[in-house]
Symmetry: C2
Subunit: 301 residues, 2 copies
């Protein structure tokens, strides 16, 4: 029985971003997929950030992670420059031009993980090279769940390695355009079904301001985005989506109260007849009505 919150291990980039949008221009913002993911997931559970930074990375940045209970034990600092990136968004935010990419110390990033530190963690592989993602999977002992993201760069250049990783994961998060590129299928729902066949139990297709689509063998569910958001900077939206998604899953506990409510409702039917006649004919809907009654009673207390 596992009832407690799980830790999350994330491997991703930590970077300095120069960003220009219709709302303004800011330089040297702390960013990177690992950063955005960790911040979001840390709302729910303990996060261990695996990554690399240069000697231009300040104590104040480390302190920010620690203030969120994000472990930086696996965030290596090496001499050289932290990964930096510059981008400019179109006025409608639908296009993004990369102005520069300076990999810095990230170019030779080769994570070394002491997997003994983690007990059946949830592992998130942000959109780094597939070979690094695989390397991390191989170093982890018994993750309880593996989730990955990816990006066009690897679809274009490392397709075989990318599919090898996809076959190892439980959940694939991917943008709508990437899902189409990756499968060659224009319909994103069908693209999702085709990716399901590679092994993941869920394909979650992110559609930006149009929400997301969950594709699985049981259900296909569309989730809207929050409407009327005044966007300043879309950077990190996907990574923080992943962090919120996984943080929530990691914090899900054994729902003992709901279970007791179900037992209570059923027992109330049992005693309403002789022998089994009180429960022989009931259906889940009958039970749900009585559970609602119980919840109302509990709220009154």
């Amino acid at each position: 029985m596992n009832k407690s919150t799980k830790d999350i291990v994330v491997v991703g980039s930590v970077a300095f971003d120069d960003i220009e949008t219709i709302k303004g221009k800011k330089d040297r913002l702390l960013g990177g997929s690992g950063t955005y993911f960790s911040l979001a997931a840390s709302l729910f559970t303990k996060v261990h950030l695996i990554g690399i930074v240069g000697d231009d990375f300040n104590e104040e940045h480390i302190d920010m992670f620690h203030s969120k209970s994000i472990s930086t034990n696996h965030l290596v600092q090496e001499s050289g420059k932290t990964f930096s990136w510059g981008g400019k968004y179109s006025d409608d935010f639908n296009q993004r031009d990369t102005l520069f990419t300076d990999l810095g110390v990230f170019e030779h990033f080769a994570p070394k993980i002491d997997s003994q530190q983690f007990v059946q963690p949830i592992l998130f592989l942000a959109n780094i090279q597939p070979s690094l993602q695989m390397d991390v999977i191989n170093q982890m002992s018994e993750p309880s769940l593996i989730i990955m993201d990816t990006m066009n760069l690897w679809i274009d250049n490392n397709l075989d390695e990318l599919f090898q990783v996809i076959r190892k994961v439980d959940i694939l998060l991917i943008n709508d355009e990437e899902a189409v590129d990756l499968t060659g299928i224009d319909d994103i729902y069908k693209a999702g079904l085709s990716l399901l066949e590679e092994g993941p139990k869920y394909i979650i297709i992110k559609k930006g301001s149009e929400g997301s689509l969950i594709v699985s063998n049981e259900d296909n569910i569309s989730i809207p985005a929050i409407p009327n958001i005044d966007v300043f900077d879309p950077t990190g939206a996907g990574d923080s989506f992943a962090g919120g998604f996984l943080g929530y899953l990691a914090s899900q506990r054994f729902n003992i109260v709901d279970a007791v409510l179900h037992g209570t409702a059923i027992a109330s039917y049992t005693v309403s007849g002789f022998g089994i006649e009180g429960i022989e004919k009931i259906e889940l809907n009958d039970i749900k009505k009585r559970i609602k009654l119980l919840n109302d009673l509990i709220e009154e207390l």
Copy 2:
């Protein structure tokens, strides 16, 4: 990742009951802890009933189990009489006199379990002898959860064996009076805490028409009973409570939709500022408001 409904294996009695209450008198009712439990749990998941019946057990009873998708592959039929029991309840249902007990074939019940048939099932040990409960635990390979019930007879006569079983289980279901008898502690909350120290993660104390109390290291929660029930026959209330409780737990799936809603809500904060400023300060309460908004949107669709 385990997202699918788990099977439940229950070992308990299958019996014919003669029951007299203020509402009437009925003979040869199909009963027994295994029967009540299975019927309740079968609302949620596949149930495998381990038990024994005599040659007076009819095809129609077997058919009733099968109509509920309850497997009787482990319900052995032997020559002799099915366990039968007669009881009479006081007019307020608070007292029960046993009029007769005829163990029949149950007297020499020694379950043989082919544990290969079950994949990480949930195991429920109804209120049979502790030695039989232990025997079943030892025959099961890798149950994902073990839950037990017990009764005064074993507290009075088999205390050491009973504690050995309690130390092996994840959840103990017990009546309020039994909890007091078992621990010698009058306060049922304190009795529950004392039983927690034996190993179970949860002690669920059933208080009949007064509901139940969940005792754990994290929370202690009182759950009311359904009020104003016109009681005909309290027999099986506790066993069907256990069946509803465990059936619900077994059917709990990976809540992917809620997880996506959390990711969506957090991403909406991320894009509302440059870099990480949009998510650096948010709290779970902020997210919950946006999730409510998303749920309202989904309902409108």
